[in-house]
């Protein structure tokens, strides 16, 4: 799964009928420290996320396993809203390993 920041919404009137009534959001993939890179992607929202939130996106054929997405033509689905990410600095990790 990738971490991403929701930055916008997508409206499409004509689309595959299996996508009807699904919400589409624009998200920017980011690293665990919050830095986004240049790319954007469109993902189906299954957890009612909103703009500005950090979310968990499952991609590839696994996206069809998100709630309500069975047999839908999707390759990216938002399946979680992130409360927080704990990534100790490398020095802390090294200290934790020494402490074992």
């Amino acid at each position: 799964m990738i971490l991403a920041k929701v930055v916008g919404t997508v409206v499409a009137t004509r689309k595959d009928e299996r996508l009807v009534s699904n919400k589409l959001l624009v998200a920017r993939p980011m690293d665990p420290r919050g830095k986004t890179d240049g790319s954007y992607l469109v993902a189906v929202d299954t957890v009612d996320a909103g703009i500005g939130e950090t979310v968990l996106i499952v991609s590839g054929s696994s996206a069809r396993m998100a709630a309500g997405m069975k047999d839908c033509p999707v390759d990216a689905a938002i399946v979680g809203i992130i409360d927080h990410i704990e990534v100790p600095e490398p020095a802390e990790t090294a200290a934790a390993e020494r402490g074992r």
Binding site: M1, I2, L3, P29, D31, P32, D37, T46, V47, D48, L56, V58, S59, G60, S61, S62, A63, M65, A66, A67, M69, A77, V79, G80, I81, I82, D83, H84, I85, E86, V87, P88, T93, A96, E97
Partner: protein
Amino acid sequence: MQLARVIGEVVATIKDANLSGIPLLVVQPIAASGEDTGRALVALDSIGAGVGEHVFFVRGREAAFPFYPAEPPADATVIGIVDHWTVG
């Protein structure tokens, strides 16, 4: 499968019902040399790995298999903790 280092944990309260109870880890893929390679990602944990450990994980549809018969929407799952590795 790919080698990685566990560098963090993710907490999400609102998530797909099939993901509840499964730990989420931030993993940084590494090369055989031990150097970081590529972008860090979030993987489900099926074996109880922790921050600082070297692990291997599976990508794609198969990432849901360790949780059978449950079918969480997973595209990456940590399936082993590496004790050591050698490259010939």
